[in-house]
């Protein structure tokens, strides 16, 4: 048994992220106690129509968000309780809306900083309607084994440690949210735990006070004793004392009050809770409250530290009287566990996850990326350059300074080739159509293929084949003619022996000047000698030259097109920025540069059920 919140409690939460967070905590409790999820709906106008996701056991439940309370209770007639998390400027309106709904019987407000006047009016309205208004600034309500409203009870482990999965014999009422958990913990250590614990909030005029709940606890046979944790200020403790002393009560009352320090501190000093302030004339002091409680027959330990032993003594008494049987706790290990997120489970070694991909070049898990094991900042600080990074990520090796210089030159000479080539033209057309940079540059890159810039890999592949098979240039050309077709890397649309490509000449002479062995380049040049003798334009082009040089340097064949793609990206970005800065307008082709070879204008025949398509085709062919 319990009060206020039980297994039939169904909850709507008024609020945004803080409310969703509370719903997650509440779902943990439902999971622990093997109950269906108690939170059914949210009311939060900014997100109305969407859903909020709440992990429940190993599932993720989508909870609908409504604009109004009426919509929520119409969709879920089982709703009877609301928790309010909206800001203090909207809390009053939200609570009035909830109180006005006939389905809602309990309104608990977590919101802090609500004006006193608003609290007082809400409390009056609730009283008129015979409903319970709890809060504001209230941490929540928890009935052990039955229902959790809000984040009260803390983390999942704490729920189990504090025996909140099954009822005990003690009721708890506190103003302080943090202390509510502490008392629940003490009850589980020194006695058999709690029935229900309620945070009423530390404001000056809480909607429900100790007496509201003492009356309910008195009627709950499971609750044998109630602990109230009071503090200076206001008269709620005095009212509790008055209620307790007014008649013979079934429950025992244990109380502590804080604020003795007030006697030695500057007058008017303000403490953590809004309500914790002594009156102008000394009323509401800790001492006068403790005295009133003692007088009423409550047990009042001198300090907070005395609570544990007092609770223990009371528990032993009620056990001795046969009012409760000592709690026998089963195996805690048999309780449902909170599924761990995969990441945590991997970390603790509880699960093995077969990796989906393997990466052998870089690692981003530390404070900075590692390129094949070397921290990026370390490489930068030691003077390494972009070609070295390419070496690490493309071929997993630190290349020599000479090689880096060659790679750098390859990139520089391939960076751009004017606006007319198919890659740049495509990027320009896209830029002029108002397409963003990434898409426009990607469109240009798509053009890279067998006819434009994409012959480096193939050229490298075949030069390498020739060297491996120890073919003579003649045998190589014969092999290519028979089995492959035109030799990749040989031939140019405009350049020729008489009109040589200066980029190629420069690259070859630099590579030669370094003195590195160049068997592939030498082979390619001897092939060129034969092809140019046949036709002037069959020169070793820039793709072929780059390919031969890179294979000589030992780069893997798979990476070779990357040099052109990387280099030309520089140019394509330039073209996109250029067109965008110019504010260029949409490009449309001119019809005079199109050869319109389609049929002349004619009338479409009537649509017939059969044969139409064939007839038309035949007619076209005529």
């Amino acid at each position: 048994m319990s009060i206020v919140a039980n297994k039939e409690t169904r909850v709507v939460i008024q609020g945004g992220p803080a409310g969703v967070n509370a719903a997650r905590r509440m779902a943990e409790f439902c999971h622990l106690t093997r109950q269906p999820l108690h939170v059914l709906a949210f009311v939060f106008p900014p997100d109305a129509g969407k859903t909020a996701e709440v992990p429940f056991g190993s599932e993720l439940v989508s909870i609908p968000i409504f604009k109004t309370m009426a919509e929520a209770t119409a969709a879920f007639p089982a709703l009877n309780t609301t928790l309010i998390f909206v800001g203090p400027d909207r809390a009053f309106k939200a609570a009035m809306e909830a109180l006005a709904d006939p389905k809602i019987k309990l309104v608990s407000m977590i919101t802090e900083g609500v004006p006193e006047k608003d609290s007082k009016r809400l409390s009056l309205e609730a009283k008129k309607l015979g409903k319970v208004f709890n809060g504001p600034s209230a941490i929540g309500i928890i009935s052990a084994g039955e229902c959790r409203l809000g984040v009260i009870g803390g983390a999942f482990d704490n729920l189990i440690l504090s025996k909140l999965h099954r009822p005990g014999s003690f009721g708890v009422i506190t103003k302080s949210g943090g202390l509510s958990n502490e008392i629940i913990w003490i009850c589980s250590q020194f006695a058999d735990g709690i029935t229900t614990a309620i945070g009423i909030g530390g404001d000056a005029y809480p909607g429900s006070d100790y007496v509201t709940y003492l009356e309910m606890f008195e009627k709950d046979p499971q609750t044998k004793a109630v602990i109230i944790v009071g503090e200076m200020g206001g008269d709620l403790e005095e009212r509790a004392a008055e209620w307790f002393g007014a008649a013979k009560r079934r429950i025992k009352l244990i109380a502590v009050v804080s604020g003795y320090c007030q006697e030695q501190l500057p007058k008017g000093m303000k403490f953590g809770h809004a309500g914790a302030k002594e009156g102008q004339h000394g009323e509401g002091s800790a001492r006068s409250k403790a005295d009133a409680l003692k007088k009423s027959g409550a047990i009042v330990p001198a300090t907070f530290g005395g609570l544990g032993p007092t609770i223990k003594q009371v528990y032993e008494e009620i056990v001795a009287k046969g009012l409760v049987k000592p709690a026998v706790d089963g195996d805690a290990a048999a309780l449902p566990k909170l599924p761990k997120p995969v990441e945590e489970a991997v970390k603790s070694g509880d699960v093995f996850v077969e990796p989906l991909i393997k990466s052998t070049i870089s690692d981003d898990r530390g404070d900075e990326p590692l390129y094949y094991g070397y921290p990026a900042s370390d490489l930068i600080n030691k003077g390494y350059q972009i070609p070295h990074v390419m070496g690490l990520l493309w071929d997993k090796r630190l290349i020599t300074p000479v090689e880096a210089e060659i790679v750098k030159r390859i990139i520089m000479l391939s960076a751009d080739h004017g606006p007319c080539v198919s890659g740049a033209l495509t990027t320009i057309i896209a830029a002029c159509a108002g397409i963003q940079m990434a898409q426009s540059v990607a469109a240009g890159l798509i053009m890279i293929g067998p006819r434009f810039g994409g012959a480096v890999t193939d050229a490298g592949k075949w030069f390498k084949y020739a060297i491996e098979k120890k073919l003579s240039p003649e045998d190589f050309l014969e092999h290519m003619k028979k089995n492959v077709g035109p030799v990749p890397g040989i031939g140019h649309r405009v350049k020729s022996v008489k009109n040589p490509d200066k980029r190629v000449k420069e690259l070859i002479s630099f590579v030669k000047s370094t003195g590195i062995p160049t068997p592939h380049l030498d082979f390619a040049l001897s092939v060129e000698k034969i092809t140019t003798a046949k036709k002037d334009t069959l020169i070793l082009n820039v793709d072929g030259t780059i390919a031969a040089v890179l294979v000589d340097l030992g780069w893997p064949v798979e990476s070779l097109n990357g040099f052109f793609i990387l280099a030309r990206t520089i140019g394509l970005i330039g073209h996109w920025v250029d067109q965008t800065r110019n504010g260029s307008r949409l490009i449309r082709m001119f019809n005079y540069v199109v050869n319109y070879a389609s049929p002349k204008r004619r009338e479409a025949p009537p649509l017939e059920a059969k044969g139409t398509r064939v007839e038309v085709r035949e007619e076209v062919l005529k």
């Binding site: 967070n21 905590r25 006193e116 006047k117 009870g153 202390l179 030695q264 500057p266 007058k267 953590g272």
Partner: protein, 401 residues
């Protein structure tokens, strides 16, 4: 509740139609020259000069001067402004006209659970203190206004005769409107007087408390709230208040000079039990502090630095109950950073640190605290199995379990 200083307090009364003395608030004495040109009353009336600060016993400290002419008022203001009182500087002075009057009355309205209570007496000033039984009162239920008849009847019961009873009733109604519409929590006019010149009721002095939480619906509240414990806030207190006003959760800090035990506990409830426990064992607290509601770690770090800067402390109590949702690991990370900074600045020489806490990520948080031992901190760390305030016993009595 929040206290409004005299100037803005009078402004609120005036806004709701109550007559108050003419007044000006100045920050430099020479401002009076221009003001006197614009306001004839400054030249024509006898004047009162008061320090416009939240300082108790202003009369005793010579911070109230009465019956002055403009020149004398200027002199008094110049003497008060910039005066240093234990590290707090007087930065504002209020100058108001003296109202010639014979009788003094008392009128107040205060917030109670059921609505409000209106108090009225036909004696006022310091007289009222010794004539508490002469105060007549009526309860005003929530959501209702008192009627003029009701208030006139109250005035008659309180001893007001003839026309005056009706006048007092009208004034009381205005005060109630002001209280109700301005989210007042306590407004006390003492004394309320009848001006000799025209018989008009004037609120000569008032204590004005409003609900700080209602600020969001009062865009015209252009004043800051005053401290309520007889001295202005210190710079460190203001710095923490400023942080508190813009974070999720809260951080609070008030200095109490002369203490040996600094408090850095979590939670508005637990913090008071820690204060009680220190004082119960004969310790003296050097401050009040509290953080709660899962505040960001940098805010807790800032609070920690202020706590570590307190003069003459022997120990710091990092106490706390078992948190509901405050992340112990993160908030402790803020405290640890604060401790490290303070230590680097040589502030924690000979200071013991006592820790007790529970809540989400308590193991990680407590382990991180414990690890400070290796860095040379004199730190003692306890978990949930040690009762809340036992660390105070250990720290002050010097006995550990």
């Amino acid at each position: 509740m929040a206290k409004v200083l005299e100037g803005p307090g009078m402004g609120l009364l005036s806004k709701w139609g109550m007559t108050v003395p003419h007044y000006v608030v100045i920050t430099a004495a020479d401002q009076l020259d221009r003001l006197a040109q614009a306001n004839p009353w400054l030249r024509e009336s006898k004047l009162v000069v008061k320090a416009h600060e939240a300082i108790g016993s202003r009369m005793k400290l010579g911070l109230v001067k009465v019956g002055l002419d403009l020149e004398a008022a200027r002199k008094s203001a110049a003497e008060m402004l910039g005066r240093d009182l234990n590290g707090m500087t007087i930065s504002q002075v209020i100058i108001s006209e003296m109202i010639q009057h014979k009788e003094e009355f008392y009128l107040a309205v205060k917030s109670v659970r059921e609505g409000a209570e209106l108090l009225l007496a036909s004696v006022g000033g310091i007289e009222v203190e010794s004539n508490w039984d002469k105060i007549k009162r009526i309860a005003i239920p929530l959501g209702t206004d008192p009627s003029r008849d009701q208030l006139t009847k109250l005035a008659k019961e309180a001893g007001f005769k003839g026309d005056l009873a009706g006048k007092v009733a009208d004034f009381a109604l205005k005060l109630y409107q002001c209280y109700d519409q301005e989210d007042g929590t306590y407004i006390e006019i003492n004394p309320l007087v009848t001006r000799e010149a025209d018989g008009e009721l004037v609120a000569l002095d008032a204590v004005t408390m409003v609900d700080a939480d209602a600020r969001f619906r009062h865009p015209d509240w252009n004043f800051t709230f005053a401290s309520e414990f007889g001295r202005p806030y210190t710079n460190d207190e203001r710095a923490i208040m400023e942080i508190d006003s813009r974070i999720k959760g809260s951080v609070k800090f008030i200095e109490i000079p002369g203490g040996d035990t600094a408090l850095l506990p979590a939670g508005g409830g637990a913090s008071v039990y820690y204060s009680d426990a220190v004082l119960a064992l004969g310790g003296k607290i050097a401050n009040y502090a509290e953080y709660s509601g899962d505040p960001p770690d940098w805010a807790v770090e800032a609070l920690t630095e202020k706590v570590c800067s307190l003069k003459g402390i022997k120990r710091i109590i990092v106490g706390g109950a078992i948190a509901n949702f405050t992340n112990v690991k993160k908030t402790f990370a803020g405290i640890i950073n604060g401790f490290r900074k303070a230590k680097a600045e040589g502030k924690l020489e000979g200071v013991e640190i006592w820790v007790r806490r529970g809540g989400p990520f308590e193991k990680e948080g407590l382990a991180a605290m414990k690890a400070l031992e290796a860095e040379g901190f004199n730190i003692h760390v306890y978990d949930r199995y040690t009762p809340l305030t036992d660390i105070i016993d250990y720290a002050i009595k010097g006995v550990e379990k």
